[in-house]
């Protein structure tokens, strides 16, 4: 239906009437019912929290609302009128915009072009771009969220967090574009943001409250409770509960989400055993790569988790890449069990017994088109070789064994890895390394990014087991809380240098504040 028609609708709508009503929406994917007769409503000027485990259907619901994927049945009513759109453009004309979890930006064009993409409007006159106008309009959006990003900048030159902000600015553009108040869908917008960026974001959401309606999805339950007016909980594709944030807390929320309570020892801190003093598994000495990091030195004992804290650009990512041979260091050396290791390429790192669990598992952790078993043995095919030949029987056994040990939910070990849920994919990209008994060091690059509480807990448990197994682990994490809780020791990096080292024994964990003040 046309925007004008909606205007009439909005005109006659009573104040408290829902701007968006989802009625019995159902959506099937091969092998799974993602949405099962979902019904909910979004009131005007409210922030609606949406929580649930991975695979609970949150993202699917948002995608249906945003016109990315059509629903199989049920209907969506926008401002009292049934919505007829079946693509993103249509949804936007109806006033519904979405910030996507996996970033939806074009790397090779300017920020301005991205923000105005598909809605250049007056910035294109008689088919010709007016660049100054385009940049001006983009700037307006960027100012809304106080993003210090130049509209003329090439998008790929921005940091991940900066891109996330551009993403948000892009969606806010809807405000001007349509003559009704926009409906903004935020799918885990905070996942990769740094602390102060998250603050700006929430400030922004507060502002949106006055002029728009927001659906906010996040795995950080405290965030959700903090920002939302109401919270819907989803499970197995159904809406199972509606809560008032003021009267409920994280534990209750979690209880409903997973059907079991959030155990007191969420991070299994009790499980944390202090490693016996021993020859360090991994010893990094005076590692230097100009313009990336300077003179980085630290030791990691067997069974020890070394957390590296730092903001974007602190150089901690680059250090990890160097450890895995993805980035060559200029000077300094890396010792494994006291012996210097040459890590010019990931291949050599794997040979040396170093594993790397990437943050972006979909494009770096697993191979979607290949089977679970094939993914597991990819890095250590020698485990299932008989002579030169792959022993499928052995491979099957190995795969089954690790599917059980990590409780990976999968129809069969020959199922395509791409069909697994996020949590199970993460377990798989861990299993890929665990199948090797030669593994000495494991680099965990944001191991719980985008995972739900349940999956996170399992990953934490796993980390504890691994340290018992005598593995040395280097951890980069999204949240300080996680870093502190999981690590035995923490080094804080800033501008490519180590600025502080803290011990984090189970008994006496440092406070977040203590770490943060060193970071910034």
């Amino acid at each position: 239906m046309s925007a004008a028609a909606q205007l009439e609708q909005t005109g006659i709508l009573p104040e408290d009437a829902p701007v968006l009503r989802v009625e019995g929406v159902t959506k099937d994917f091969p092998g799974v019912r993602a949405l099962d007769d979902v019904t909910l409503e979004l009131r005007r000027h409210e922030v609606l929290g949406l929580v649930g485990e991975n695979g609970a259907g949150k993202s699917t619901l948002l995608k249906v609302l945003a016109g990315v994927t059509p629903s199989d049945s049920g209907r969506i009513v926008v401002r009292g009128a049934p919505a007829t759109y079946h693509n993103v453009a249509g949804a936007q004309r109806t006033g519904i915009g979405m910030v996507f979890q996996d970033q939806a930006l074009i790397p090779n064009v300017t920020v301005a072009e991205n923000i105005m993409l598909g809605a250049e409007g007056g910035a294109v006159r008689r088919g010709l771009y007016r660049w100054r106008e385009l940049n001006r309009r983009a700037q307006v959006q960027l100012d809304k969220i106080k993003a210090r990003v130049s509209p003329g900048a090439l998008t790929e030159s921005l940091s991940f967090a900066e891109r996330q902000l551009v993403e948000l600015a892009k969606v806010l553009g809807i405000e001007e574009r349509i003559d009704a108040e926009p409906i903004v869908l935020l799918d885990e917008p905070t996942t990769v943001l740094e602390r102060e960026e998250i603050e700006t974001l929430f400030a922004q959401i507060e502002r949106l409250r006055t002029c728009a309606s927001v659906i906010f999805v996040s795995h950080r339950l405290d965030e959700v409770l903090g920002v939302s007016d109401r919270v819907y909980v989803m499970r197995d594709g159904k809406c199972v509960a509606e809560l008032d944030p003021k009267t409920s807390d994280v534990h209750e929320l979690h209880l409903i989400m997973v059907g079991r309570g959030l155990s007191e020892s969420y991070y299994q801190e009790a499980e944390q055993r202090e490693p016996e003093p021993a020859e360090p598994r991994l010893s990094v000495q005076g590692l230097t790569l100009p313009r990336h990091y300077e003179n980085v030195s630290f030791d990691v004992l067997p069974g020890e988790v070394m957390g590296i804290a730092g903001v974007q650009g602190s150089g901690r990512e680059d250090v990890c890449r160097t450890l895995f041979g993805a980035l060559a260091q200029k000077s300094g050396q890396i010792l494994l069990d006291g012996r210097p290791a040459r890590l010019a390429s990931p291949a050599e790192a794997v040979q040396a017994g170093i594993g790397y669990v990437p943050a972006d598992r979909r494009s770096e952790g697993i191979i979607g088109q290949m089977s679970v078993a094939e993914n597991m043995t990819l890095a250590h095919i020698w485990r299932v070789l008989r002579g030169l030949v792959i022993d499928r029987g052995a491979e099957d056994r190995l795969a089954r064994e690790w599917i059980d040990r990590l409780a990976i939910k999968v129809p069969s070990h020959r199922a395509q890895a791409g069909n697994l849920s996020g949590g199970n994919q993460q377990k798989l990209s861990l299993a890929k390394w665990l199948v090797s008994d030669r593994l000495k060091v494991l680099v965990l690059d944001h191991p719980t990014r985008g995972l739900d509480v349940g999956a996170k807990a399992e990953v934490y448990a796993l980390v504890r087991q691994l340290s018992d197994r005598g593995l040395a682990m280097v951890l980069l994490s999204d949240t300080l809380e996680e870093t502190i809780a999981l690590s035995h020791r923490i080094i804080v990096m800033k501008d490519g240098e180590i600025v502080d080292r803290l011990d984090a024994p189970a008994s006496a964990k440092p406070t977040q504040v203590a770490v943060v003040e060193k970071m910034v």
Binding site: V68, A104, I106, N108, A119, Y129, S157, E317, D360, H446
Partner: protein, 336 residues
């Protein structure tokens, strides 16, 4: 033939590296061109004689027009192999539509828009096959290559129609300040294409689609429409190139297009446009076309053994592309 750089695993390039890479990619071809010119001039001073410059310009002109069409297709990450088919059928058709010794249609210069439309039509069909039938552009256009050649053979009917339209032949033979009109037309085409690339959705969306097609769709862009448009445009450019070539040849030749496909793609690639799409542009393609023309012309001027010429051309091209791409090299960079 796709490039993707890991978000987290691929090391972020430090600014200066980025600039060096950008410089190499955008200016490298220009440097290569200069080096070649200097080298060949050393080999034979005649190389920079005005007359030779004219002949280089003419040689580069038609390639440039083909390459312009190809550039937009490659920018969006696809490829158009129908070049020789479209050129051949257009060449024969135009010769049959202007005054010729075969029939008495004689549409005069009106034939030009007609043939351009023919090229556009084939391009459009290829685009539809690509977007609607969902056949990779590589295969779809491969098919239209054969179809074009077939149609040309049928129309050709045994002997080349000889063109008697003086005004048409004049395009290829007439000179302005020593350069043939072809060169000027080619230049105009390049400038026009540059405006398209810089100031229109057509051009910008070519980059966008090359950058990330699915995102483009998410942003509500009618990707298929622009893809079809771009193939239509490339088809038109191939037809235009064929018209120019024919006006120069003076007859309708069923093999007008022979050799232009790889030459044009090479021109685009040497210019620094990545086959994976999203990077590059028209002006670089122009330089690329000149590089090719210079190589071919120069090898003859310095008198290189004909047997070795294609090999040396290949080597130079590889060298040029490798060197201009050198600073772009990064561990974990994926090039297919």
């Amino acid at each position: 033939m796709t490039v993707n750089v890991g978000v987290s695993a691929a090391p972020a390039r430090s600014p200066w590296q980025g600039r060096a890479a950008e410089f190499a990619r955008t200016r490298g071809s220009l440097i290569a061109l200069i080096v070649l010119v200097v080298a060949f001039t050393a080999g034979n001073p005649r190389f920079v004689s005005l007359q030779n410059i004219h002949s280089i310009a003419d040689a580069a002109a038609i390639v440039a027009v083909v390459a312009v069409g190809q550039t937009f297709v490659i920018l969006m990450g696809a490829i158009d192999l129908s070049v020789e088919g479209v050129m051949s059928v257009s060449g024969v058709t135009i010769s049959l539509l202007v005054a010729n010794d075969r029939n008495s249609l004689d549409l005069g210069l009106l034939a030009i828009p007609v043939v351009l439309a023919l090229g556009a039509l084939i391009g459009f069909a290829a685009g539809v096959a690509n977007t609607r039938l969902r056949i990779p552009s590589f295969m779809a256009t491969l098919g239209f290559w054969a179809i074009g050649l077939g149609a040309a053979t049928v129309l050709f009917g045994g002997s080349p129609p000889i063109i008697e339209q003086q005004s048409f032949l004049d395009i290829g033979l007439g000179h302005i300040f020593g350069f043939t009109k072809i060169s000027y037309i080619a230049l105009a085409v390049v400038l026009f294409a540059w405006v398209l690339q810089r100031y229109t959705r057509f051009g910008r969306y070519a980059y966008v689609i090359g950058g990330d097609e699915s995102v483009a769709r998410l942003s509500g862009i009618n990707v298929d429409r622009y893809k079809i448009l771009i193939f239509t445009f490339s088809g038109t450019m191939f037809a235009l190139a064929s018209i120019l070539a024919t006006s120069e040849l003076g007859v309708g030749d069923a093999n007008t297009g022979t050799g232009y496909l790889f030459t044009a793609i090479t021109a685009v690639v040497i210019g620094g446009t990545l086959l994976s799409g999203g990077r590059g542009g028209i002006m670089q393609t122009l330089i690329g076309s000149l590089v090719i023309a210079v190589i071919v012309n120069g090898m003859i001027l310095v008198g290189i053994n004909p047997l070795a010429q294609q090999g040396i051309e290949g080597a130079i091209i590889l060298l040029a592309v490798a060197l201009t791409g050198w600073p772009l090299r990064r561990p974990l960079r994926v090039i297919k």
